[in-house]
């Protein structure tokens, strides 16, 4: 469901007035444009395609420059997205260009999850914008918009039909981003094959319900060129940054032993058409569609998911505030319950541990008693032994005394005995 258009100029209560002279507000578009020039523009391109299909080369060719890029390896574990931001300037226009590459796309043996990182990345950019928009203190006009404005889907030049990976991925992306399908490395297909290939691709897209970006035809200035371009989709492109001398001109081309494929020659490939459509005619429309259609859809789904509605069951308009208050109460209630639970758990744990500790204390106490008793026993025994020993000592001393007194009174006897 698209956002409803409000035509501010169709309300009956306004009158059309004629001006009696030159007022000067015809400079308004210029005022607006010059403000945008000072602010600068953002443009974000997502390139989805297999490794080696020519994404980086095409970007270099499109923007007439060499973005630094190492070749990606084919051995990635999964698909991951690599965004790179560049600041371009042409005459007075500053463009913050972000090119997001899908690294590892189509390389895995199991490609079931290949589309997920892409969808997640797009959603994250919407989420970040939504966050900023909902902040209390926000600065939207300063915000670096990272939402993807265009997804270039690179189709391998097999000449037969779309791969199932292509169909699945494009179907997942078509409600989130503007898609322009392009046939990469188009110099490997002959003209007649190309024609059949294009028809096959478009019919497959239509029969699978994939919504690709249609160049807008509502503005008379560009409707003609846009509608004719719509018929040339998908664009068959060739990219090259190498220059080759053809005749007396130097052009960007790919040189083969059998000839030279010129990038900017419209009879060789559709590169010029792509550049025309993407940059020179519809860049602003792509940005507008991303914001007004895809972002609004995301925002609507997100808010509805959280339970926000514009009207309650009785069709009375609910303010966001009421819903927010209700949600907040719910959330706080949940929080409180969780807090209670945790507190209970804590109390129980404390009780348990207390009990354990008490047990251990008791054990220790018992042991201590036991040891004490043993100690006392030992002490007693030692006492006894000591007493016995003392007694023995006494007895021995007495006997010694007795023996001594006896020996004193009979000393000679012994000697006599001895003499004898």
């Amino acid at each position: 469901m698209a956002a409803t258009d409000v035509d501010v100029f169709s309300n009956e209560e306004k009158r059309n007035l004629s001006l009696g002279g030159h007022v000067g507000f015809d400079s308004l578009p210029d005022q607006l444009v010059s403000k945008s020039v000072t602010q600068g523009f953002c443009f974000n391109i997502l390139c989805v395609g297999e490794t080696g299909i020519g994404k980086s080369t095409l970007m270099n060719t499109l923007f007439n420059t060499m973005f630094e890029n190492e070749e990606a390896s084919h051995y990635q574990n999964g698909v991951y997205l690599r965004p790179r931001t560049y600041d371009l300037q042409e005459s007075s226009v500053h463009l913050k260009l972000t090119i997001v590459d899908t690294v590892g796309f189509g390389d895995q043996i199991n490609k079931d999850e290949s589309y997920k990182p892409i969808v997640d990345y797009i959603d994250t950019q919407f989420e970040n914008y939504l966050q900023e928009e909902l902040k209390i203190k926000r600065s939207l006009f300063n915000y670096h918009d990272t939402r993807i404005h265009i997804c270039l889907y690179f189709i391998a030049p097999t000449g037969h039909s779309l791969k199932s990976l292509d169909l699945v991925t494009m179907k997942k992306l078509d409600s989130k981003v503007n898609i322009i399908p392009i046939i990469a490395k188009a110099d490997t297909i002959s003209k007649s094959e190309l024609h059949k290939f294009k028809i096959k691709i478009m019919s497959e897209l239509v029969s699978n319900g994939v919504q690709i970006y249609q160049f807008p035809t509502d503005d008379e200035a560009v409707s003609e060129i846009n509608s004719s371009m719509n018929a040339h989709l998908p664009f068959a492109v060739v990219g090259s940054v190498e220059e080759v001398k053809v005749g007396n001109k130097t052009v960007r081309a790919r040189q083969y032993p059998w000839g030279v494929v010129q990038v900017e020659n419209e009879s060789h490939c559709d590169f010029v058409k792509l550049r025309e459509m993407l940059i020179r005619v519809n860049m602003e429309d792509l940005r507008e569609q991303t914001h007004a259609r895809h972002y609004e859809l995301y925002r609507r789904c997100k808010l509805e998911e959280m339970g926000f509605k514009d009207t309650d069951p009785d069709s009375q308009p609910i303010s966001l505030q009421e819903t927010y208050e209700a949600k907040r109460k719910e959330f706080l209630g949940d929080l409180q319950r969780k807090e209670e639970e945790m507190r209970q758990m804590f109390v129980n744990k404390v009780k348990e541990t207390e009990a354990e500790l008490k047990e251990k204390e008791k054990e220790l106490h018992d042991k201590f008693e036991h040891l004490k008793r043993i100690h006392q026993e030992e002490k007693r025994k030692v006492e006894e032994k000591r007493r016995d020993l003392e007694e023995e000592l006494n007895t021995f001393n007495r006997r010694k005394m007795a023996a001594e007194t006896q020996s004193l009174s009979q000393p000679l006897k012994k000697d006599k005995d001895k003499k004898n």
Binding site: V8, N16, K338
Partner: protein, 338 residues
């Protein structure tokens, strides 16, 4: 087309150069086309006592009968007992550029004997428009283009007394200067000589500064030194001394807009006679978009911050807490704070 422009445009890139013309600058044309197609809205409010020439000035500014009052013969203006706000919209077109112009009149302002709080209905109106816009913006199903009824500019008419600001002027501009861009003008300035005019303006500027009133263009909103120089020049000449009329007379063989008196014809668009042309240039030819931007980026945002803080709404936190990927992490954080 490419041959015409030639391969001579060189651009800069962080690290490398553009080797030829890409066509990025055509985005300006694309944008221009789209904005012309969509059309513009402009809402201007005129405030001042009755009889100061508000309607005439608006008609002179937009060279059309925007306000019917001054054109209806024998129109007797009834002094109303309270301040009523009266908004009238017209669609005007010039060279393919369509504009929906809404003029908000404030009859009754300053006309009573006791004018206590006569600015309140106006403050209420301005805030109501912000509120309307905010509600639309917060809707789940939003319109592609939110209708903008917010006041972009408020022209405040000062009677040409030649002395200084009156208490009612100070009170009004103090309060409204915080929520809307005010452009003060000296009305019916043909009663002041050039010297009197200069003195009056000087005194007004001093009064404004003494009372902390910020009128358009606000000093704190100057973005860069260039802006500052341009706006300083404007600030040195406000308030503009204006004369309005819709009658034309012959002067030196030309038809000019002017007021005919026994001692001469006051040419409205002659900068030697009055500053109407300066006002028109500021409001329409150079700063119209800026007025709208200030209303949207500064005044509306201020209102929004205040409003959301009042109701303690921190929506972004709520959104953050429900985002699945970060959900677990944040829930743990909130629990640990318990």
């Amino acid at each position: 087309r490419e041959e015409e422009r030639g391969m001579s445009e060189r651009g800069g890139i962080g690290g490398a150069d553009l080797f030829g013309y890409v066509g990025i600058e055509s985005v300006l044309d694309q944008m221009r086309r789209k904005t012309v197609k969509a059309g513009f809205e402009f809402n201007i409010m005129v405030v001042g006592q009755s009889g100061l020439g508000k309607s005439t000035l608006v008609n002179t500014l937009f060279k059309s009968k925007v306000s019917r009052k001054s054109c209806t013969p024998n129109y007797e203006e009834k002094i109303s007992k309270t301040v009523r706000l009266h908004a009238v919209s017209h669609v005007i077109e010039e060279k393919g550029v369509k504009m929906k112009l809404t003029v908000i009149d404030t009859p009754g302002f300053g006309d009573q004997i006791n004018n206590q709080n006569c600015w309140e209905p106006i403050v209420k109106y301005v805030n109501e428009q912000y509120e309307k816009y905010l509600r639309e913006e917060l809707n789940v199903n939003r319109k592609r283009r939110i209708p903008d009824s917010r006041v972009h500019c408020c022209i405040y008419f000062l009677p040409a007394s030649g002395h200084s600001l009156r208490p009612i002027d100070v009170e009004f501009m103090k309060r409204l200067g915080k929520i809307v861009s005010i452009v003060p003008v000296i009305a019916k300035a043909d009663t002041l000589t050039l010297e009197e005019r200069q003195e009056f303006k000087e005194r007004i500027r001093q009064d404004l500064e003494a009372n902390g009133i910020h009128v358009y263009p606000q000093r704190e909103l100057d973005e860069d030194p260039e802006d500052r120089i341009l706006n300083d020049r404007i600030r040195d000449s406000i308030p503009f001394a204006v004369v309005g009329t819709d009658k034309e007379h012959q002067v030196n063989g030309h038809k000019v807009l002017g007021r005919k008196t026994k001692w001469g014809i006051i040419e409205v668009e002659n900068v030697a006679h009055c500053e109407f042309a300066n006002l028109r240039d500021l409001l329409i030819r150079s700063h119209l978009q800026d007025l709208k931007d200030v209303a949207h980026n500064v005044h509306y945002e201020t209102y929004r911050v205040r409003r959301l803080n009042e109701s303690n709404m921190n929506l972004s936190e709520l959104v953050l807490s429900s985002w699945p990927l970060q959900n677990k992490m944040d829930k743990c954080e909130t629990e640990s704070h318990l």
